[in-house]
Symmetry: C2
Subunit: 143 residues, 2 copies
Amino acid sequence: MPRQRITLVTLGVADMDRAQRFYRGWGWVRHPASQPGVTFYQMSGAVLALFGLKDLAADQGRPVAALGFGAVTLAQNCADDRETDAVFQAALNAGATALKSPEKTFWGGYSGYFADPDGHVWEIATNPFWPLAADGSLTLPDV
Amino acid sequence: MPRQRITLVTLGVADMDRAQRFYRGWGWVRHPASQPGVTFYQMSGAVLALFGLKDLAADQGRPVAALGFGAVTLAQNCADDRETDAVFQAALNAGATALKSPEKTFWGGYSGYFADPDGHVWEIATNPFWPLAADGSLTLPDV
């Protein structure tokens, strides 16, 4: 699987209804995998997500005010927890700042967050419900 | 071409050498299409770009301090200038705030910027040197 990939771009939004109205109005179609509090849009091999600012901050273990650039989060999903750990550690070795070390999540996945030297936030994650293609791309499963 | 796509994710960086060192250290390989001041990484059908914060702000016609979330920019490339205009206008119609209306760029393309209701910045652009695949994905051309 290619190492260089962004699986999801997550936009932290202050008002989910307003954000959904905008993307719908712009012509985007919400994926049925969306749930209350998180909205998904299928792109070419990757996914755009809308997620509440407060929820995104909580997920990263930080106050909303600290999100800064992190109100956009870049996610790289991995094949398994071991790869997630290895990719996360490689980023720390390269100079990233850990925000939350990879740990089991309430939704059955495994996820950690770090900030790159400019404060851009990456999530490295395993999501057993969303298998990746061999080229590392993500197509949301049918629901 | 699918409407729902992000062609480039651009990270505004304060120190290009530092940013390049980090991504290289994390295992990413710089694409030879990179130039002084802008670094490209090929992903699965899309591109990650590093671009100086000041240059990114200037490109959007805003001071660096106003970038906010815009220090990440999401780009959707289009097949031609007419599609760029139409996609940009559709976003304005849906409630986006224009930052820079589409105009010819110094590098031979055509590009505009808007902010979504949360301030996330999108660039809508035509780049005649970077043809898109039928599925809307972008593979950097050989140089």
